[in-house]
Symmetry: C2
Subunit: 433 residues, 2 copies
């Protein structure tokens, strides 16, 4: 038997399951996780589990570090905070054993999870899979602390907050897992935030690129790095809820949202409704700020004089609009940046005022970015036009626009963001029953 | 320059400092420890520090294990509980760096501290010292979590509760340290418990063997294993208080009690008062129980029938008395065992009643053992006689006696234990000013 992409299907599937800190917070919750994992194994699969620290534990440990020194050594920080995941991995192995499973913990330095030496923000280079695969094939459940790795010089590293999703995907890639199930506090990826649109629908499937675009515009289901890695390594990732009834059937039969490649999505949708959804989801992000420089003298190189220093300051500029006033030869330049970087942006441009030669700098933090995302827009014109018309019909003013191959974003007044999301959700036919 | 025992003295001394959980409990206390350590380095020494987990932390982690399963896997227990020392070692390194010191943590698997695979009660086989010595020689303070090691198959082990003293001595032996300073909540070893005898004096020196005898009869200053290891490896151990004013001078000038070999003690005391103290200390232990079997038929092999099964049950029998009644051919056999083992002792002997053939079993938990310890008694007769006379003069009845080369112990009524200690402290001339 072969999978659709040509890989030979094992009679026994190999599954990586990842549980976050909320799921691991205390004895009763770890016991629930153990039951969910055991059920997965009972349904005939080889199972590895990647775990976070107990909710609150990493914060507790980070606080000790901050109290030690404002400029704490990131290498020692990694020694301290990696302890949180070490504890939960040992405990989950015990809980699994108590249910009659064979299980053992594999710490980051034991596998090892090789990383670079960027302490507190390390990147995974490879995951030793040989011993792990052998143990799993022998029926042992592998319990792996997320977030932690080993540098070339033999020291503990960590991947940065939220890194356990990335650990799970990296382990899945290394052991050639059939699926990486990420258990979260939501039960999948929705067409938009269900708190804004009651009729938001859970997506059965979404492509890596769509997931990346949604993550970059405010959908916080998965860490962006983990999605990039899954795309690069071709790991099928499923997002599903850890708050399922633990007497419910195994994850196979209660799917969340599967994140797959374009090609796999095409295959999955073969024979389905020809007119598949053009737009997959709608996201909103209030963490944007708008900056306008007025009366900039429009001479060659002026744009570089504005955005060069910002790039050097590592400030990520998104939308840019340049309105040329025909009569004066001066222009207004407007752009957006993350709200968190607004103060630094203003400082940088204040310093460059003479070199740029602008009149006034106007900052506006009361803006929001609304984005529609879908691989379908590659092959269909008119997606943006539908967006602009739907917003105009409700009197919502568009202050700026940016697009990528599979995304159209508009900047609007922050007060109108929920209205805009609802209007677009209906306009693209996403409303569920 | 050579030390008295022929080792070449380094211009720079090499010191291992060990701090327990009370000293490491929270940011302020760790900062205090960092200042004490820095002062030791500032006085010109190479320094390694061995630390315990924050007070209470190991109990918290052990509880999680017990909640997971009554029969938890000791290998996973080690993964969980070793995290406590990992955290404090990283934090102390940070605090030292904040004071301007070079410092780094060396975890048990990094040095490594090789142990056998007796999880939760592992024994140290060797300590890798090469990288450690190099770092220390380069001026870096090495911070080492106590209690933890690495088994041959690459898994975390721990040494059992209180194992950090043993870790410190093992590290000191490996790096050929000039001294291992154990910081505790007392400021040294006393002639007896100062809570019982106000005139108890702090000892400047004590031999390994005396320390071992005192530890085995209830003096809880150091873990017995650490003293045995120090004796075997010839590590000079100093017990001193961690509650010294941290603006005070370095430990060199405010000594606690130094634990040394017989030979070193002889050299130290050369030229001193010829009539050196015969008795070093007096200890009392209330955790004893007495068991009497009455009317045991006195036939060959009966003693083996009593004590064989107890030895098999791993019950440590101490004093034994056999009173032969001339007329009946039957005998009463009395012995002592640890109070904690009394119930098991009774169960074992109940089971063997027919085989032994005794009349009644009488258990008495209201007994205490008082011991006088001193290497001086090797060369002096009359130590025991002095003891018996002093106790008899105050009407204290001796129920049993046991002796070793440097110890005489008597079993008495628990109610008379404080009186006995005071009487003996005076009788042997130990009372201070």
């Amino acid at each position: 038997m072969f999978l659709a992409d040509g890989r030979e299907a094992r009679a026994v599937a190999r599954i990586v399951m990842k549980f976050g800190g909320t799921s691991m917070a205390g004895t009763e919750r770890i016991r629930r996780v153990a039951r969910i994992v055991k059920r997965q194994q009972d349904s005939g699969h080889e199972v590895a589990v990647v775990v976070s620290a107990m909710a609150g534990e990493t914060d507790r440990l980070v606080n000790f570090c901050r109290e030690a020194s404002a400029l704490y050594d990131p290498a020692e920080y990694d020694v301290v905070v990696a302890a949180g995941e070490q504890i939960t991995s040992g405990l989950l192995a015990m809980h699994l054993q108590a249910l009659g499973c064979q299980a053992r913990s594999w710490l980051g330095w034991q596998l090892p999870v090789h990383t670079d030496d960027g302490h507190a923000k390390a990147r995974i280079e490879s995951v030793g899979a040989e011993a792990l695969s052998a143990a799993m094939a022998a029926g042992e459940i592998a319990v792996i602390p997320g977030f932690q790795g080993l540098s070339d010089d033999g020291r503990i590293t960590t991947l940065g907050r939220g890194g356990s999703d990335t650990s799970a995907v990296a382990v899945a890639a290394a052991i050639k897992a059939d699926r990486c199930d990420i258990y979260t506090d939501v039960d999948g990826v929705y067409t938009t935030d269900p708190r804004i649109v009651a009729k938001a629908r859970k997506l059965k499937n979404i492509t890596y690129e769509e997931m990346l675009e949604l993550a970059s515009v405010g959908s916080k289901v998965l860490q962006t790095r983990s999605v990039s890695l899954a795309m690069k390594e071709g790991v099928r990732v499923q997002v599903l809820s850890s708050f399922i009834d633990d007497d419910a059937p195994a994850a196979d039969t209660i799917p969340g949202t599967m994140i797959v490649s374009d090609e796999e999505l095409d295959r999955m949708q073969e024979g389905q409704d020809m007119e598949s959804q053009l737009i997959t989801g709608i996201a909103a992000d209030k963490n944007e700020a708008k900056v306008t420089l007025t009366s900039v003298l429009d001479h060659p190189g002026v744009v570089a004089q504005i955005f060069g220093p910002l790039a050097q300051a590592n400030i990520n500029v998104d939308m840019i609009i340049q309105n040329i006033a025909q009569d004066t030869g001066a222009t207004d330049v407007t752009f957006t940046c993350p709200l968190a970087d607004l103060a630094r942006t203003q400082a940088v441009l204040e310093e460059c005022k003479a070199a740029i030669g602008y009149d006034r700098m106007i900052a506006d933090s009361k803006v929001a970015k609304v984005s529609v995302v879908g691989v379908g827009m590659r092959s269909h014109a008119g997606i943006a036009a539908t967006m602009f018309k739907a917003l105009a019909d409700r009197g919502i003013n568009i202050e700026a626009i940016s697009t990528s191959e599979i995304k159209v974003s508009v900047l609007i007044d922050e007060d109108e963001v929920e209205l805009a999301v609802r209007v677009l959700h209906t306009a693209y036919g996403l409303d569920g029953a």
